[in-house]
């Protein structure tokens, strides 16, 4: 039996190597090429592109933007997804099924479609501004899209379903009886939440937060379409360099840099989750 196991893993291994490892190696190779003055790629084994990318202050700005945007979207999504997941985890209501579907529905819709939905809601003449203006709360439309705000809102929505699922999966240790025990010992519902429910769900929060952060870091469509060309993050720059500038080496260096950054962040999230689960 033991000798068969590696054989069974072979298809998966071939798949991962072919679909992931090989293209990643090709990507790695591009990072060492050079770029001519008009954008032509010159095959080389050179660290020039690497040096240029990290000497450029814009790389730091991209990193900062990506981290900040991901952190705010993740925090917002957590604030929204946590109560929702807690409710879904506990309720016996007949609304549980429909609500759970609604919660993960955005996952099933194309990102582009969702983004255009947000444009219709958040645009200068969109739903939010129309309502606020018609009730006289504002005189000029609020700038809710084509800027940082729009991207944050869009990202928050796009990662929420994944985080909801991650939270639901991570709520394993939550037990209604523990909250009842806290109440029987004199803790109000809020105190019980703070002292029992919240600490016990910290591993789930770390897991969902890590996932949301990584998804935000690698999100491309949302910052691209809702950013109005004003929100520069690593993912959009990688794409822009490859598809508008034809600059594969820079794109490859940034992609590898982002990959390393994400792996480090995932490892951190894993460590945090494990430490919190103790």
């Amino acid at each position: 039996m033991n000798t068969r196991l590696p054989l069974l893993l072979l298809p998966a291994a071939v798949f991962v190597l072919g679909i992931y490892a090989w293209p990643t190696l090709l990507l790695l190779r591009n990072a060492f090429n050079e770029v001519g003055p008009t954008g032509a790629m010159i095959p080389a084994w050179s660290l020039a592109t690497l040096r240029d990318v990290f000497a450029d202050g814009f790389t730091l700005e991209l990193t900062r933007n990506s981290l900040l945007l991901s952190a705010s979207a993740t925090a917002l999504a957590l604030l929204l997804a946590y109560p929702l997941s807690l409710f879904l985890f506990r309720t016996n209501s007949r609304w549980r099924g429909p609500l759970a579907v609604v919660a993960i529905l955005p996952m099933l819709v194309s990102g582009v479609v969702r983004v255009f939905g947000w444009l219709a809601i958040l645009g200068d003449r969109g739903l939010v501004n129309s309502v606020l203006q018609s009730v006289g709360l504002i005189s000029a439309p609020l700038k809710l899209v084509f800027n940082w705000t729009g991207v944050t809102i869009g990202l928050t929505e796009s990662i929420m379903p994944y985080m909801t699922l991650a939270l639901l999966a991570g709520f394993g240790r939550l037990d209604r009886t523990l909250e009842e025990a806290a109440r029987s010992l004199g803790a109000s519902p809020w105190r019980g939440f703070l002292r029992v429910t919240l600490p016990l769900s910290l591993p789930a929060i770390a897991l969902a937060g890590g996932l949301g952060f990584v998804l935000s870091m690698s999100a491309y469509i949302t910052p691209k379409l809702l950013g109005g060309g004003r929100v520069f993050v690593l993912a959009t720059e990688i794409f822009e360099q490859a598809t508008t500038n034809t600059n594969w080496p820079v794109s490859a260096v940034l992609a590898i840099y982002t990959l390393v950054l994400l792996l480090a962040l995932l490892a951190l999230a894993q460590l945090a989750s494990r430490a919190l689960a103790r």
């Binding site: 008009t38 790629m41 200068d124």
Partner: protein, 351 residues
């Protein structure tokens, strides 16, 4: 068995253009890579279908990869085993392909039609694939906007705050606009773009989006913006399709040509048929048909374009006079620098 039919067609084709006569011996399949959407629709009707009618043995597959940069990237990735025979793309990216050896050089002996092209069209590709269409940057505006824009400087009108869609670099519309604004300020983009950047910085707060999606026309038709940077040909088409809702303005301060070249992929699977198609695409009938259908200016100087269509392209003498001579190779070398200045000085001012 086929001889009689070929003879008949040879007679007809010989009257139209020598290029067709040369193409008739070819067969098999070729793959053409070019822009999708309305370009594909119109190019199929105006050029591909007549070509197939003249060459029943050839099947033309149309494919696209998105932007010009994505197209040259695809061809670069297939260098060892090319899947594309002919590619139409922006000159800034075909130049990269020429340097990287992705495309074949074209000789006048093999392609006599090259002699019919305008000097600018030949110059665009050098020894490689020449220009197949000319286009130029315009301002697309909502016909409901009162008063209508009449010049580039009108973009700075205070009533347009938040109503502009400006494609920023590295998009070539942004590069073209930079050259145009520098010219408007009396400068020369080859020396400095300081004046342009200063003016664009003032414009930034008026900009709704620096990255119009899906495109500027859609934003105008949806009422999101009133004015968008745009290419003339598509704007002319959208103007017709929207019953005049979108109006193109060629700024009197001058505009910049956008050039699409047609290229024969090095090591193409079906070079003979690919070459025949390339020659046909540059021929007078193809150039005439496509210009009259989509308002790209022809690159074949001998193409006889209907005056109504001609007036809507940059071939019209009065329009041509306003064009700023731009060498895209110069701009390419400055592209990253311009891009950085836009990001740090222009777009940052709009946040």
């Amino acid at each position: 068995m086929l001889t009689r039919r070929i003879a008949l067609r040879t007679g007809l084709a010989a009257l139209a253009a020598p290029a067709i006569a040369r193409a008739q011996k070819v067969g098999g399949e070729i793959t053409l890579m070019a822009y999708s959407g309305i370009f594909q629709d119109n190019y199929t009707k105006a050029v591909i279908e007549p070509f197939i009618a003249a060459n029943p043995g050839v099947k033309v597959n149309f494919t696209s990869a998105g932007t010009s940069a994505q197209m040259v990237g695809t061809i670069r990735a297939q260098k060892a085993d090319p899947q594309v025979d002919v590619a139409i793309m922006d000159v800034t990216t075909s130049t990269i392909g020429n340097i990287e050896g992705l495309f074949d050089k074209l000789s006048e002996s093999e392609f006599p039609v090259l002699n019919e092209l305008s000097p600018e069209a030949r110059a665009a590709g050098g020894a490689f694939g020449p220009a197949v269409t000319f286009d130029h940057l315009v301002l697309a505006q909502d016909s409901a906007l009162k008063p209508q824009l009449t010049k580039l400087a009108d973009l700075w009108r205070p009533d347009l705050k938040g109503l502009l869609a400006i494609s920023a670099p590295p998009n070539i519309q942004g590069l073209a606009l930079t050259a145009m604004v520098e010219k408007m300020e009396g400068g020369d983009y080859r020396k400095s773009i300081d004046a342009a950047i200063r003016r664009l910085r003032e414009l930034a707060p008026s900009v709704n989006t620096f990255e119009p999606n899906p495109d500027g026309y859609a934003l105008i038709l949806n009422g999101v913006v009133k004015v968008a940077t745009a290419w003339n040909a598509r704007t002319q088409l959208v103007a017709d399709q929207s019953a005049g809702r979108v109006v193109p303005l060629l700024p009197p301060e001058g505009s910049v040509f956008q050039i699409n070249t047609i290229n024969l992929v090095a090591g193409a699977k079906n070079r003979a048929a690919g070459a025949a198609f390339l020659a046909y695409a540059l021929s007078q009938p193809a150039q005439k048909a496509f210009t009259e259908r989509m308002f790209y200016a022809p690159t074949n100087a001998r193409a006889q374009i209907a005056p109504a269509a001609m007036a809507r392209t940059a071939t019209a003498p009065d329009i041509r006079a306003r064009m700023i001579p731009v060498d895209w190779n110069d701009i390419l070398k400055m592209r990253d620098q311009w891009n950085n200045r836009w990001r740090r000085e222009v777009i940052a001012a709009a946040r």
